[in-house]
Amino acid sequence: MHIARNWRVKKQRYSLHGEICHHCGAKVFPPRDICPECAKPAYDPLQLSGQGEVYSHTTVYDAPAGFQHQAPYALALVRLEEGPMLTAQLTDVDPKEVHIGMPVEMVTRKLSVEGDEGLIQYGYKFRPRMMARAA
């Protein structure tokens, strides 16, 4: 992915910046210009907590270019506490131990590497929630 394209998404990718619609109250990630719930065009910024749970998951064996050094890896649909769902890798966990409903939290990690001279992309992954481990 090109440099400018990465730079444009840095707030959402590094710190889960979302939006809240001041018309209907919908919480949204990633930011859009139009609320997906009420289709009205107004938004206020919302910092998401990064806490969520696994809605579903799989293991990627045939990884796309840039991800091959990580394969096999766990991929999940994560439902954030605030409501929005996103797609992310799970980290710091054996893919066999992942289950639906597992509490997870966001961490910033290396996402992909574009060869020896290309970009290294960083962004969000999710790991088992530390509090849940301690409990």
């Binding site: 579903s56 998951h57 799989t58 990627v60 045939d62 991929l75 639906i100 996402l111 992309q121």
Partner: protein, 387 residues
Amino acid sequence: MRDVAIVGIGQTPVGELWDKSLRQLGHDAIRAAMADAGIEQADALFVGNMLSGELAGQEHLAALLADFLGMRGIEAAKIEAACASGAAALRVGTMAVASGMADVVIVAGVEKMTDTLPAETTAGLALAADQEYEVAEGATFLALNAMLMRRYMHEYDIPHSAFAPFPVNAHHNARGNPNAMFHMDISPARYEKAPVVAPPINVMDSSPICDGAAALVLVPARRAAEFGSGKRIVRIAASASAVDTLAVHDRGDPLFLEAAYLSSHKAYALAGVTPADIDFFELHDAFSIMSVLSLEACGFAQRGRGVDLGESGAITLSGRLPITTLGGLKARGHPVGATGVYQALEVVQQLRGDAGPNQLAHAHIGMAQNIGGSGATIVTHILIGED
């Protein structure tokens, strides 16, 4: 608006066609459809294709095909809607004839996926997903379907083996289709032992990477008798399309294919039919889970009960709602941008009584549904054989 009829069909076999180029595939299918319709020229050519730019470095595909076919001077354009490109092109062709803006229209679907290495083709297919919020995070098209299947099994407490009848039926039906990629039966036991590619999806849940091209000739229905060789005239009774969120994670309920519900129910209203009137259904079985979600959204099964249609045998050639009657995406093959045209063409084969050993005893109203991405674009056509 004018009624539209399909008066010509043509297809290439589906498979790893290393001796055929993209343009040659398109040529072969289109020439066959033109011969079937008895035409030498057309007003317009609409080509469904997803990956010619990515995998062959060739855009401007419709102009290339028209040129290669000696049809300089006509209107031509490529239509892209991921794996729904074929049916999207059919819909554009239908609109052109229905509106009166064109009289004789060729709709083709062409895809070449086997010249490139599997990793390149896989990356190409992922272009259908959200590049910034699915693919950049490591998702593949297969992985997205796997997560839908796992959630479905979890919510409705359904074992993986319950999906076996779908690929078993598709493979059985492909044996009667000389143009299908695979001609071998698979057993439920073989299905359950197949290598897992993205849990819970295994190889036998997944449609193959392949090449192929199919084409249709569309004309105003009132002129249909002027074309073809006296075969039954097939009318496009409904053409409908709808979109959903591009990313799976943005759907309020990822297990309900909203775009399938919307496009099928628009189509029922346009054709004046209900799901009970549909004699057979060429659905989009790119993965087993998609068959089940499509059947539920289109009103053929309650939510969580789509697998029952497999278990009861309703989906077989002698069942209440035969599906994938000539092999479907799983066993005829899924040359992505061509698939929607193959589906409509196979509905025409059944309605004409030309489906060979797979001919249905009762084929009067057939439905085809083509899905782009993991459900973001869904196009439904209902075709009726005229008496």
